[in-house]
Amino acid sequence: MKIRRTDQSPSLRTYVVLFLMIGGYFLLSCALWRLQIAKISQFENRQRTQSLRRVRLPGIRGKIYDRNGMCLADNRPTYSIALFPEGVRRSGGWARTIDHAMEIMGEVSEITGLKPNVKRSKIKNHIRCRLPLPLILWQDIGLRSMARFAEQGGGIPGVDLYTKVTRNYPYSPYTSHLIGYVGRANLDELKKTKDFSYYLPEMGGRAGLESLFDDFLRGEAGGKIVQIDVSGYRFGELARREPKRGGDIRLTLDMEVQLLAHQALSTNRGAVVVIDPNNGDVLAMHSGPGYDANLFVPYIRSKDWNALRDDPCKPLLNRAVAGVYSPGSTFKPISGLAASTVDPEAIHDIYDSPGTFVIGRRVIRTRGHGKVNMREALKYSANVYFFKSALDHGWECITDQATAVGLGKKTGVEVDFERSGLVPDLAWQKKTGHGGWTDGDTCNLSIGQGFLAATPLQMAVLTATIANGGYLYRPRLLQAYRDPGKKNYDPAPRRRVGKMNWSEEALSVVRGGMYDVIMSKDGTGRRAAVHGLTFAGKTGTAEYGIKREGKKHTWMIAFAPYDNPKYAVAFLIEDGNSGGSTVGPRMKILMQGLLAKMTREQGVGGGGGQRSEIGGRRSEVGGQRSEIRGQRAGGGEWIQALENQGGEAAQEIGNRQSKIGNSHGGES
């Protein structure tokens, strides 16, 4: 047996071992350094991605008002009962949590008396896809259910009241073609802009102004960061950026006039457009039948949608801008004015207007009026007068004038689905294979028949241009807009685009003819006459389709009061009998309403200056112009507007696409 060496080298070995062990700890601290200092961002990111979720909060949509501040598109709070999954969680499989959620739903159902309408599969789907968010069990519950829930349901864990905002259109059937509607926003589009984990149901403009000004109205979305636990339940909210309000817009529309238009059109299919001839403001634009835009919020049921789509009356069609019709005799004032542009003496022309007229091999039968001048021809709507006039002065001046006054082009008003209509000419005829231009085409054109087609809005613009002495305004619907957070509205620009080259004399003859149409005992529009209001107009009856079916669209255009026009109206009824008999009485209803409105507003109705000889022969240079000025001295705004804008370069009327952008270009 060896003698043990007790204590020399062992302590060396001990030191070595200790050194190695301390080295081990040092190695660990290096690993810690690498993880906690060098690669911290990587792990922080991983931690964020697994425990944080970004939820998009939709912006608060701006409102739409009429010119007097009536709200046409509003936000309405709705109360729902929502299930918060983290409040009903059960350990164990998901099935237990779902079971529990169903139990809770049953409990709430008993308290509130609402039928459970969320299926098990929907809860399951929600838990799988949107666990950190509440699930709406009952949408938009009534006050009674809400009261019951508030009283007895407060103690139930996992369910609570949930407030949402939905869009509401208080005047919907009367404004739906203009305002349009919102629907569920397109998520794919939203997802492009910013990366959120969850999107709440969000409204986006789908039609009408809601769609055209969607970017402006929508507001800026906010967001919140929700912290979730390992199972995906909501744990808490870390940060929140409140959504911002969108801008408001104010329309030129006057709800009073709009409702009058609705009342006047009644249940007929057709359209009424009322424009302020002094600036092109659209005061009313009604198309009937309408539809309830509230049906579309937040989404339309397929049953309702099919009913609207399959309705033979086409309620979705905005006839005021998307319906094109032959203007018929309402076009005759332009024919008359056109002749005067090539021959100033044309206004004195007198033509024999018999009941039959032969062009080539065609014999046109119409009503005979004997020898008439232009004013009488307008009053009686004598077709042959305009045939002969057009044949004498050529058709080109008519197409030129029609185009100049805005037919055949979109007006660019802030309404969607606008159509351009058509002013046929030789080039168009050749291009579309209708052969060369014949005298028959000239005759058709002169009385607003044939291929000529216009929208009621275009006809209203035409009427306004005659009413105000030849000043052409592009119609506008947007009066002003208010950027989010601002108190005052910024006005949208008025759009005077030019002046027609109509002589004062020609204009006075044509206006006189239109005066007679209404005011004369034997005028075609006498049924529209309103006691106490002097106004002028023109009837029109446009045949369409196969001749022997005798289908007719009936028209009337009018402006009132005659001396100091405030309203220019185009009134169309589809499939009527004749302009005078079908539209006349309806126009009367509208005019009565407008008279009452004017009387109330300033006590200066059209009745003030019952002048028997207005529009007669007034040959002094500038006479009528000064006359108009003189008469309008009271309504200074009109003159000022004219003078302010007189020097402005006329905008290209056809440049309609950029217009919407221009009109609210400052918004973004």
Partner: protein, 373 residues
């Protein structure tokens, strides 16, 4: 008595108490859920175990360790017996690791570790043993290999593995010839490499290991990520540690743990270090490393100053035990080693382990109290 107090190693006691207190503090954090401010559950039990452990620590410290020389074989036999008995106890989480006792579950492998250190120290320290003989080496290997295999059969690979470095360190310090030890280490390393390569390329044919163990090792080798399965704990623990940064997120603000990404079952036990690292950052986790280093240094100091070889080996063995446990636990937390269910001494929640650690450290104090000078 006064003499005793003067000779007492206050440093190691201070470190131990610091660790015990932080243990309770952070187990509370690991259990914490908002609105639950009560001292309850594991925190309370850990306080009780800690107090009990401290009592045992002093008892053991005043007990003269040299008396153990007489009875160490009995202790060893008792530990082996318990390791056999454990197989007749009901299975829990697919393993026979615990013997149910009134009030707590006894984990015989904890006792076995101390028993192995004790027996190795006593036997190698006895003048009758010739450490130069190669048969000594074989006998020592058998002495620790028997409980090693029994523990591995439970199965509890992690705890079993702890015996290997502890045995080696005791053998080295006992002045056994280095060659067989180094050979053993070499063979072990080769075996681990072979096993790793085997697992890497032909995991299905690999013997010995269970599927569970295989998958954990595969995750460690980065063969599979399996972040939702076997790789979950590793990934989440790394995220917890990594997102802590320099100063951490603050006490009770470790989101990995509060949100449950660090599973609640392991956060207060095997992964308590992740919780601390997330909440106190690099600064806090480094301080913890320094505290463990201090314990190890004080153990080795006790070993160097010990009156006789038995004491030296005993203190060094306990130091090795603490080191191995803490190193493996922290290394797995930061992703340096495969996940093994090995607790962090003095920090992790657990009664048996707390008591056995305090007994072991008490022995070191006992050795130190009875040092030469």
């Amino acid at each position: 008595m006064i003499a005793h107090l003067r000779r007492f190693d206050w440093t190691i006691l201070g470190v131990i108490l610091t660790l015990l207190i932080s243990s309770c503090v952070f187990i509370f954090s690991a259990e914490y859920q908002s609105g639950n401010e009560m001292l309850a559950g594991k925190t309370l039990r850990q306080i009780i175990w800690g107090t009990l452990g401290t009592g045992i620590y002093f008892t053991v410290a005043y007990f003269d360790y040299r008396k153990l020389k007489e009875i160490h074989w009995w202790i060893y036999a008792c530990a082996l017996l318990l390791l056999v008995v454990v197989f007749f106890c009901p299975e829990k989480s697919n393993a026979h690791r615990w013997i149910p006792m009134p009030g707590f579950d006894l984990q015989p492998s904890e006792l076995a570790k101390i028993a192995v250190v004790l027996s190795l120290a006593a036997w190698l320290g006895s003048p009758a043993t010739d450490v130069e003989e190669w048969i000594t080496f074989v006998k020592a290997a058998v002495l620790s290999a028997t409980p090693f295999f029994l523990i591995m059969l439970e199965p509890d690979l992690g705890t079993a593995m702890v015996l290997v470095p502890v045995t080696i360190i005791v053998l080295v310090i006992a002045n056994l010839p280095l060659r067989p030890i180094l050979t053993l280490i070499g063979v072990g390393i080769v075996a681990v490499i072979v096993l790793a390569v085997w697992l890497r390329f032909l995991p299905d044919t690999c013997p010995i290991l269970t599927d569970y163990q295989k998958s954990r090792i595969l995750v460690y080798l980065n063969v599979t990520q399996d972040p939702l399965g076997a790789g979950w704990n590793k990934l989440q623990s790394q995220i917890a540690v990594g997102s802590g940064g320099l100063f951490g997120k603050g006490y009770l603000k470790g989101t990995q743990n509060i949100l449950g990404f660090l599973p609640r079952t392991v956060a207060p036990t095997d992964f308590i270090y992740s919780v601390i690292a997330e909440e106190t950052g690099f600064v806090g986790s480094s301080i913890l490393l320094i505290l463990y280093s201090t314990i190890v240094v004080r153990c080795m100091r006790a070993a160097i100053k010990a009156q006789e070889i038995f004491g030296r080996l005993l203190a060094a063995g306990v130091g090795a035990l603490i080191f191995t446990h803490s190193f493996i636990n922290i290394a797995m937390t930061v992703g340096l080693m495969p996940i093994t269910g090995l607790p962090l001494p003095l920090m992790s929640y657990g009664g048996s382990f707390m008591l056995s650690t305090m007994v072991a450290l008490g022995l070191v104090q006992s050795v130190y109290l009875r040092r030469r000078i």
